[in-house]
Homo-oligomer: 346 residues x 2
């Protein structure tokens, strides 16, 4: 089947670019001597996670239990969930996973650690734990090396938990004193540390420099506009593209497509995407089911029924809106992959 025969909007990935991005990151991490644990939230596709592992990744990262479930289901056996898992339904699901694979989770509070321990004991499971540090991202995470030290001791003492180390995001050079002091405190307490997890794409060198034992790089997989910025978007390295159809040409300067916020998300609000065939025109707005294009800067005469290939801005949020990813090589559909991790908010 040719791309042109696809019903639209269709989320597609260029396989040649995808494979090159995977190989390049594997080489980069090998050269830096830092193991790669790719964050799969960007793509949410088990087949792509398997390609990353085949290229040398030591395991993967998932952001929610539901994302990890679809990865364990295809046999992936080493997963970090850098998230505080709270509440009975999720803890029960987590322990089921921990019986099938090596599962590591992040905690930043006593309450979360104790909840994990109670459920692990109840279910006869063991769960690996790292302490999340807030080294400047101002989201979750404990606030000081001393707080890591105290929580680490709690985790070491709790049954069912296997303390592994620490994690942070993103990997900033400014985090080094925090991490160094933390590791020194833990060493003095005789608590061994096997994991110092950092992220993400673009900060692999930083991760190595601040002492991380792995990098959770994720967005390199599609290498999209959100990371590299709208000015430097490059169809040669961006693997993801949405095929949309022109559905209306109501005025000389306005073209409307069938790809709106429900296909592309609305984050960030601008830019809305990059049109590969006609980069000179601008998507100036999106409603829920329509893309609005200003074609005043183009001599191309857009026609109802014409298909366009748009590089989305936020790859992870966009992937979360689609049930399937169409894998394309040389203009032909080579596979259709379920985005099995889509919608797994729990």
């Amino acid at each position: 089947m040719y791309i042109s025969e696809l019903d639209t909007p269709a989320l597609t990935v260029n396989l040649d670019i995808l494979e090159r991005n995977i190989a390049q990151m594997a080489t980069l991490c090998q050269n830096l001597d830092i193991p790669l644990r790719p964050h799969t939230k960007t793509h949410k596709v088990p087949q792509i996670a398997q390609m990353q592992i085949e290229a040398g990744a030591q395991g993967i990262t998932c952001q929610k239990v539901g994302e990890a479930e679809v990865m364990v289901a295809v046999g992936i056996d080493d997963i970090l969930i850098p998230y505080n898992i709270v509440g009975k339904p999720k803890l029960e699901r987590l322990m089921q996973l921990a019986k099938q694979a090596t599962i590591t989770v992040a905690v930043d509070s006593d309450i979360t650690a104790r909840g994990l321990s109670e459920q692990a004991q109840k279910d006869g499971a063991t769960i690996q734990v790292v302490v999340e540090m807030d080294t400047g991202s101002k989201r979750c995470g404990v606030q000081s090396p001393q707080a890591v030290q105290a929580l680490a001791q709690t985790i070491v003492d709790l049954p069912g938990l296997d303390f592994q180390g620490v994690m942070t995001y993103p990997s900033r050079l400014e985090a080094k004193p925090f991490i160094d002091e933390t590791l020194e405190l833990l060493r003095k307490d005789g608590i061994s540390v096997s994991m110092v997890s950092g992220g993400g794409t673009g900060s692999e060198v930083n991760s190595k420099q601040i002492g991380c034992t792995e990098t959770r790089s994720g967005s390199y997989i599609y290498e999209g506009m959100q990371r590299i910025g709208p000015e430097t978007v490059n169809p040669e390295t961006c693997a993801l593209r949405m095929i949309v159809t022109v559905v209306s040409t109501p005025t000389a300067n306005r073209v409307i497509t069938d790809g709106g916020m429900k296909a592309f998300t609305s984050y960030p609000p601008t830019p809305y995407g990059y049109i590969i065939e006609q980069p000179e025109v601008k998507i100036y707005g999106m409603s829920v089911e329509h893309g609005h294009i200003d074609v005043s800067g183009s001599s191309h005469r857009f026609q109802v029924g014409e298909q366009l290939s748009v590089i989305p801005v936020h790859q992870g949020m966009t992937s979360n809106l689609h049930d399937e990813l169409v894998a394309v090589r040389n203009g032909q559909v080579e596979a259709i992959w379920p985005i099995a991790g889509r919608g797994k908010v729990k």
Copy 2:
């Protein structure tokens, strides 16, 4: 099952409020003597569409063919799709629907009309058609009464198409001269008009005044923050709420929940939602999987594991992110409805 036992984030609807909103809109339209064809894009749930029909709606509106398919599957037999349907895969699906139900679609170009006609003939189907007018929304739609007249004549002449009239969105009083002139031109041409479709919630009086034969009101179903504005959000009339869990309390003023952009969408960017239990605190940001709350304005001591009920801002975009809607009455789960129209971008 109590709400408190739900895994989170969980999208829930308060059934008492939902039923009241349905009854109130039915009464309003009866009193105005304007038939109601609710737009189901807000909820995407067949069970709710059936409740709207039982309350007197003459049919429903769906924005995409995929949304109409899930509604026809439960026996709903009169659907308007106010959208230019373009391309072979979608036209084939549309004609299958047109054999099972009365389907009306909008067109604003010769190309779209001819595509519909060709497929209708090929499949032995008949499809009802209205011309979409651009009366100021600057999206799709023909630009003048004379353009409606010309396209209407084309449609009347094309086999397989059954011309019904016109549609616009939104229903502004300023649209009346455009509509009046259009109807006069069609009358002179001897083209009969049975449908003048307007929308949406809040413009029912306008729709009646500008001569519409029906209103496609949609957002009344949940009566959410997006329509009435963040200043007047009212938990007594807003039926939709997301149950989220506090997963981190890293500092005295910062609380993090498990509901981020992947649960709530990111449109519009602010406000992010309204917390019913603690309206004095502010969701100041969202990342993909986390909600960030500033609790400096509250004396309440938030705890990891605590659940909060958040009124989402954009009800339709939020509904599109979830597989299930939990129907709740008096704090108890009464039903779990599949959001069957979720993700139907095609």
